[in-house]
């Protein structure tokens, strides 16, 4: 089984420098593409590959690129931004790629920028990823010195400058239009769409924003072709993805697996199942913004399509396991506390609704909840649900609350009836 994304990554070892990366075949695709293949050919290959955005949305990467206006129609600066603002609770896949193989990301970014003819590349990285930011800056300096970045790269006539921009906190910066506002020196509140960033992005110029893992796939797809990439997946899915597991499993960690691998294989084989003395109660399949899945649903293949068909969201693909010795009400309370804190405050349902949800859950956990509180929480899942708010933060928060009320209703009722939490 080929694992392109992690092929250069060795646990506990420093990442390959430019020399090592090139010895392993790195930048060969770049050399074969820049000035040799038409940019439109790269867009066509990525579109044909079926690559889906790995930031949590699963949107087709090729379609995102195709929405960039033609260079002749829109002269002037254009931007390609890598979203390295990984902050979704339970998600630790991009940090692995950033720290494990920074040149893979750079090669992907240069190819992607060439494909959409962007002359500015920005890697927007969260402030706390200090080690990754340092490694990336070193890799950029190495690439600049080797003529792989800058003016007239490899004699191709293509110019690209890359900045590593360290953020200053806040989960909402990962929302792509809020990220644009952060880069413009504003509060990171989301923007209305349309216009799409491709039409009016950073400083009003055409802009594409892709997740780290998405871009790390690009050198492999361009180098080996769409058919090869499609052949990597299972269950009719294309490519591999980094999946992860945290919680009380035997081997929490990140695992590169074919898309379409059943969730059960990830949990039971790769993560080794539950630690002795713990049972699996449920899990969030892809970060805090996804809904709960029960053990009976774990045979669903891990792909955006199969999850959507089953009424779930794959999200970031990094699962958080709720064990049978952790209070589900407190678990959901922790998630809602996160979302209430991280609401940017721009739209009223999110700004006012999430703290209300948080306080109501805290009251139930503390034993002062009432039966009406459950009706209120259920009502809130509607008020803060899809289509009611400016961005996806509040609807994401409601995913675990809604499925949690459904799956753990008896636990909520027992808290209210007993006037306290049996787990604490």
């Amino acid at each position: 089984m080929e694992l392109p994304l992690t092929r250069n990554i060795r646990a506990g070892q420093a990442p390959l420098d430019l020399t090592g990366y090139q010895r392993a075949g790195g930048y060969e695709t770049l050399r074969a593409s820049l000035g040799k293949a038409a940019p439109a050919e790269l867009v066509a290959t990525v579109t044909a590959s079926g690559l889906a955005g790995c930031g949590g949305g699963g949107f087709a990467t090729g379609r995102k690129w195709q929405a960039m206006p033609d260079r002749a129609e829109r002269p002037g600066p254009r931007y390609f931004i890598v979203n390295a603002d990984e902050m979704e609770p339970g998600t630790f896949k991009d940090r692995l790629l950033l720290e494990g193989d920074p040149h893979q990301l750079l090669e992907g970014l240069i190819l992607a920028a060439y494909a959409v003819q962007a002359d500015h590349g920005i890697i927007f990285i969260r402030a706390e990823y200090t080690a990754a930011a340092k490694l990336l800056s070193q890799a950029v300096a190495e690439a600049e010195a080797a003529g792989l970045l800058g003016i007239n790269i490899l004699g191709s006539g293509f110019d690209l400058h890359i900045d590593v921009h360290a953020s200053a906190g806040r989960y909402i910066c990962g929302e792509e239009t809020a990220l644009l506002n952060a880069l413009e020196g504003k509060r990171a509140i989301p923007r209305a769409k349309p216009p799409l960033p491709q039409t009016s992005g950073l400083f009003g110029h055409p802009t594409v924003i892709n997740n780290v893992e998405t871009i790390c796939n690009i050198p492999h797809i361009i180098g080996r072709g769409a058919d090869w990439y499609r052949s990597l997946g299972l269950d009719g899915q294309a490519g591999t993805k980094i999946f992860g597991v945290s919680g009380r499993v035997k081997y929490p960690g990140a695992y590169e697996l074919p898309l379409g691998t059943p969730m059960r294989e990830l949990i039971e084989e790769h993560a080794g199942g539950m630690r002795p003395g713990y049972g699996l109660r449920a899990l969030l399949p892809g970060g805090a913004s996804t809904g709960f899945m029960l053990d009976s649903e774990l045979d669903i293949p891990m792909s955006f399509a199969a999850f959507a068909a089953a009424g779930h969201r794959l999200g970031t693909g990094t699962a958080i396991v709720l064990d049978d010795r952790t209070c589900p009400v407190a678990f959901i309370g922790n998630l809602q506390q996160f979302f209430a804190q991280e609401s940017c405050g721009w739209c009223a349902p999110c700004r006012d609704g999430l703290p209300w949800v948080e306080q109501t859950l805290a009251a139930i956990e503390a034993g002062t909840g009432t039966g009406d509180d459950l009706d209120l929480l259920l009502e809130m899942t509607g008020h803060l649900g899809p289509g009611r708010t400016f961005c996806a933060l509040a609807p994401g928060a409601m995913a675990s609350l809604k499925s949690g009320l459904d799956y753990f209703g008896q636990d909520f009722e027992r808290h209210i009836h007993d006037g306290g939490c049996a787990w604490h």
Partner: protein, 164 residues
């Protein structure tokens, strides 16, 4: 409060030059504001009112406009912090795997709650969202270094070993 070094109310020539260099790289001055705040904070540990007002002038922003940005981002500190900031992850995987025990331990050992600074000005404890180290939960960032698989004994060792 004895925790912060006395802040001269004036940016140094080097700080002004640093901000000018950041501004020169951007299509509009305010786009440099977060980088400017970070750069100044790296030396001064926090952004005082007087310093904020001076930075705003350099960026062509009103004080209120810059403060609106500064107060939005949780890692721009508008109040004094200790020599080292302990960012203890309180997101769900760390919470499940022992963060409450660690927070209680820090409270007992350093006599500080989240948001507070030790009496000797050495440490400030702040909560932080998921640090992307969930497979080694519970985790924290101490200064700029990530630590995982924490327990009270490891926490003690790290806090003693860190240079003052």
């Amino acid at each position: 409060m004895s925790t912060a070094e006395p802040q001269a109310g004036k940016l140094t020539a080097a700080e002004r030059a640093g901000i000018a260099a950041l501004v020169a790289r951007e299509p509009m001055p305010r786009a440099a504001c977060i980088n400017a705040l970070r750069q100044v904070q790296a030396k001064r540990r926090y952004i005082s009112d007087a310093i904020l007002a001076e930075i705003a002038v350099l960026l062509g922003m009103s004080t209120a406009e810059l403060d609106e940005v500064a107060t939005f981002y949780n890692l721009i500190f508008r109040r004094p912090v200790g020599e080292q900031v302990i960012l203890l992850c309180n997101s769900v995987s760390c919470w499940m795997l022992g963060q409450p025990t660690l927070a209680a331990h820090l409270r007992a050992r350093l006599n500080i709650k989240p948001g507070e600074t030790t009496a000797d000005g050495r440490y400030t404890l702040l909560p932080i969202v998921c640090l992307g180290h969930c497979d080694h939960a519970p985790a924290m960032l101490l200064g700029s270094t990530l630590h995982g698989d924490l327990d009270p004994a490891k926490l003690d060792a790290l806090l003693c070993l860190e240079p003052a």
